[in-house]
Amino acid sequence: MVREAEPSLNEKQFVLRALKDGLRTDGRRPYDFRSIQISFLSEYGHVQIQLGRTRVTRVSAKVTAEVVRPRPDKPTEGLLLFNTEISPMASPAFEIGRPSEEEVLISRTIEKALRRSRAVDTEGLCIVAGEKVWSIRVDLHFFDHEGNLVDCASIAAITALLHFRRPDVTVIGEEVTIHPMDQRNPVPLSVHHIPICVSFSFFADGELLVVDPSIIEEQIREGDMTIAMNIHKEICALSKAGGIPLEMDQIIRCSKIATTKTAEITELIQKALADDKAQRQSK
């Protein structure tokens, strides 16, 4: 077991002192999100997200689809699965087969933000009721952990879902034909809304807060909160698992910040998708 090195007292004191002056150790201001870089790989639904420029948090998401039998209690609904197992590649603190608390929280937040908020229309994934439905799975690969894996993962997952195309199907009576991608244009998933996670870390009894915490900020924070929101200013999920108690105003302030960040990030994702589409068509 390789442990994550604890920061020294000097670093802890310095981070807090700088925050009191509104400064962060990577040169950002408290409400700044790191720059987000979105890159698409050759297959549909394979996306890599990078937060930051030099020391980056990096997560990629890969969407795949297969035809399965639906759950007996929901015969007309397709499946949407997430695999958020974190390998030690991202940070030596993660172990295979023994999920840490952090890993479980990330996985739960992604599930709540994307699946339970019904971001993807699962009814539209039904091929033959009670017989055949699409099962969409999102595999998240965590490469580098420099803080805020959850926001990075949520952006990767939703961008990959938006980018993904599944093979077209036709149903004639009992006969189901799945058309290979090169014969008939594949179809995108129907996505109802785009939830974006925005995470906060709190310091000094909740007096100080930062958006998109870096790893050292995560290590010394007193409390944290993640808000998943969409462009319609709807809160899709909110996770505040432990940490110091927060004032109500603080939560309102956070949700206001989340509103602007969500709008910015959504615009970024849509622009990246449009650019990629144009590029693919020109080929």
Binding site: R58, M89, D144
Partner: protein, 228 residues
């Protein structure tokens, strides 16, 4: 002869691509591709080892394989074992007793040949991590298809039509030792030796590619530091 991905020769390899040091949390990392088949490998170590894995006279080498889709299966465990046995002899583990060398292999995109792609990615990642090594492994795969043709570096489509699949890894010492011989299917001794020979020649190309990649990288770093 035309191959399914447009290659014209049975002995033609797909384009190689590699980059080193692409991750910041690991001690060393690399990406290696044969065409569309892409693997990212990371290396951490020599690091603290669990007491139960500790070896008094050498480093413990651990390989973890993460599939592109889904959870690790038996197939990935098998790959872990083959990879560990291939790269372990190239590491001077005796110089790092009671430590852990942890190698993580993330499959990014699968289009055949994952074993050899992973061997090459690990070799590059270990170079980047600066582990003491006595040599370097490089691997290439070949198949004998249903018609009895020998095809080097098969893609997934060609693998469907294979009657036997062979992967070989060689080191870069003057004797060019065999580090791995992994074969599946039925084949004659002659076919085996043909594959061995073809892969040996091809792996020389991988070795020289790795050398050029490392040379270019180091030269670039020096140039940047000295141009003023």
């Amino acid at each position: 002869m035309k191959r399914s991905d447009g290659r014209t020769e049975p002995s033609q390899l797909r384009a190689f691509a590699a980059s080193q040091s692409l991750l910041n949390r690991a001690d060393g990392s690399a990406k290696f591709s044969f065409g569309e088949s892409t693997v990212i490998a990371s290396v951490v170590g020599p690091a603290e080892v669990k007491i139960r894995d500790e070896k008094m006279d050498e480093a413990t080498v651990e390989v973890i394989v993460r599939p592109a889709v889904g959870f690790p299966s038996t197939k990935d465990k098998l790959l872990e074992r083959a990879l560990r046995q291939t790269v372990e002899p190239t590491i001077l583990a005796g110089m790092m007793p009671r430590t852990l060398i942890q190698i993580v292999v993330q499959i990014v995109q699968e289009d055949g040949n994952m074993l050899s792609t992973a061997v090459n990615a690990i070799s590059l990642a270990m170079l980047d991590a600066g582990l003491p090594m006595n040599s370097l492994a490089a691997a290439v795969s070949a198949i004998i298809d249903q018609e009895g043709n020998l095809l080097l570096d098969p893609n997934s489509k060609e693998l469907e039509n294979a009657s036997s699949v062979h992967t070989f890894a060689f080191d870069n010492t003057t004797s060019y030792n065999l580090l791995l011989s992994h074969c599946i299917g039925t084949y004659s001794q002659e076919q085996y030796l043909d594959c061995l020979d073809a892969c040996k020649h091809a792996s020389e190309r991988v070795h020289s590619f790795i050398r050029t990649a490392v040379e270019k990288r180091i030269e670039k770093e020096y140039q940047q530091l000295q141009s003023s």
